[in-house]
Symmetry: none
Subunit: 205 residues, 4 copies
DNA sequence: ATCTAAACGAGACGGTACGTCAGGTCTTGGT
DNA sequence: ACCAAGACCTGACGTACCGTCTCGTTTAGAT
């Protein structure tokens, strides 16, 4: 939820017209719809036009169209990933990955948009921090918690998470192989070979 | 090495001025230097200016500045990755990853440029194929060969390669953790747990 | 003195808060001060801000910032022009012109503002009528009365007045020559050569 | 004739594509036509669009749309003013004024455009100098030469010219009286009463 | 030695999107 | 009902970069 023009003294309560929630939703909806339809049609002008909104209203609350569409994506997709709470760890991880894959692939999938956002983050340092804080890190925390029931950060856990998300992002960005359940299972097994070496079944000694 | 304007009748041998090799090098050098210095300064005009070259000369041989800088990168970095031929497999993989990491990180590192190229590939389908064919796939083949001494494509091998490169790219693009030797070792171990389950040492038996 | 929102039934005496005279003065003062300081800083927002007033309060009483600054100018300058009542006609005209010139020229002079108002009248038909009725025509009537002691409109009188004001405005707008007393005297003589041909002293025979 | 990007060393002859004269004419024509049709429709975008030209091409050669339309006006109207060379001085001046009036008034007249240009000059110092040097001063010189057969600058001559142009501009800008031949004659007589006091018929002593 | 096709530096050009600015309207809550 | 604050729509602005298109010049091989 963007909240830039709020550099307001804490003691002064609030004056002036209040922000229009319907406008905000219209912008997010328009942005997401344009983005999912055809990324290169998503210009600031087209968002404004199709939301029935002035460009300035967009720039008042977001610093670029990418921030807009990121917020839109968060509201759209935040609740879609299922997190199983029982069953063997491997299955829970596979479930997490598979449900994420499902969001990405297929028609109407969010894959190209994710690619574009990751792309933008490479090129726009300002957006990179939003991207990290709003999208990447929350996902990491969720997966991390799944892995060991806590958010404890060890190098092994970090590597396992990187490996899982890395495997996913790599296929998404390079798009040479399918994001399907067998792949999810392989990633999960490899990752668990890192975190569970001692816990579950020590390989040799 | 770009070679577009050659749609010449086979019987007519060649006429006209021949391509200037020094010009080609000047363009590649200028592009790479601008890209490594500050990516957003690398415009077609700035490349042309700093190479002392007309824009048309660039577009005659490349279809966009990204193709230019990709070629520049290939010439610059192609020979830098060492491929050990003896020692245990794990060490050979770790060596491959580490020498790749070294290219990326550090001052003057190629990391941001790689990020930008991957970004561009998300957004420009034309460039995406160059990117895949010239950069991504050759690396995959090299690593694949290292893994099992052949280029045989099995789902396990594919997943192992994706996992290794995925782990690398993820940290590169999201830049939250270091690309160092311990990380390389973890990735390698996880990957080998996929490919070597039967061959080397089945985890449980 | 603007008075738009008063379409009130005669029998209903008055309801609600009464117009705040101090607010009105603050707006006029702020507008004039900004206008004399730097014309392009005089935006509606800046007037509102520096008067401590909401924009709507401005638009409630005036239809544009130009109407505001015109009113401000009228209150500021209306009493500054002296109208001599005795002495020879020529001297009375010269006196009128000179005192007008004095308002315009010099530091803190009203010249640029007058120029801007005349400019706005060229481009905004709505403002043009205010400009004519509140500023241009009263001045014309004053000068006309000075010329022949009446407001009788003959073509000769009209031309004389146009000539006097024209000479003034031309130098003001084109700013190539000084608005000084010798110039005032020349204009006056030329103008009187039109109106007084028969009355005072026929040039030749 | 705009010529901004010419900061070229005198010794280096010229390289690169040469300026397209047809483009230049298209821009001027489009600008003038839009300006005469409806001044407020003359935006930079509309000029560009209706000339089939990129905006940048306009900004490459002119610093604002007003410079464009001024140049357009100069080419359109420069030859329209007749300068009689024989007959009595009074008639020659009346002729000059009348032919100028004719350009201004009537349908398709240039009056509103002239007003807008004069207006812009009040508000944009950069344009003011172009306006003075390209339009105002040349006209002054032409009239001055007509008055005494030379360009000698005396205060009387200056005042006479100011008076003539002033009378014209005043009626144009304030638009309360007709720009017709009787008015031209009155202005001419008044002006000549200044310049010809000694030469033709000294009033009294 | 000439001819000819192509490479080349330079830079004008059409186009698309950007981010900003100001004007004028509308909507809060407070007085 | 008035008002300060400020969100909102609108429309134009000037800029940046892209990729294409001429210019005139240079350079090689073919004749």
């Amino acid at each position: 939820m963007p909240q830039r023009p709020v550099l307001r003294c804490a003691d002064r309560p609030h004056t002036g017209r209040v922000r229009n929630e319907r406008t905000r939703r219209a912008i997010l909806t328009a942005a997401l719809s344009l983005a999912l339809d055809n990324l290169s049609d998503m210009t600031v002008d087209s968002i404004a036009r199709s939301a029935g909104v002035g460009k300035q209203t967009i720039y008042r609350w977001w610093s670029s169209k990418w921030e807009v569409v990121l917020d839109a994506l968060l509201e759209y997709a935040d609740q879609e990933v299922v997190i199983l709470t029982d069953g063997p760890l491997l299955e829970r991880v596979v479930g997490f990955l598979s449900s994420t894959f499902a969001l990405i692939t297929g028609p109407g999938g969010v894959g190209p948009l994710l690619g574009a956002l990751m792309a933008q983050a490479q090129v726009d340092p300002g957006f990179a921090v939003s991207w990290r804080e709003k999208f990447v890190m929350p996902r990491r925390r969720a997966l991390m918690q799944l892995l060991d029931g806590t958010v404890e950060q060890t190098a092994d856990n970090d590597a396992a998470v990187d490996l899982l998300f890395g495997g996913m992002w790599y296929r998404l960005l390079v798009s040479h192989g399918p994001l399907d359940e067998p792949y999810a299972r392989r990633l999960a097994m490899a990752a668990l070979s890192l975190t569970c070496r001692r816990a579950e079944a020590p390989p040799t000694e």
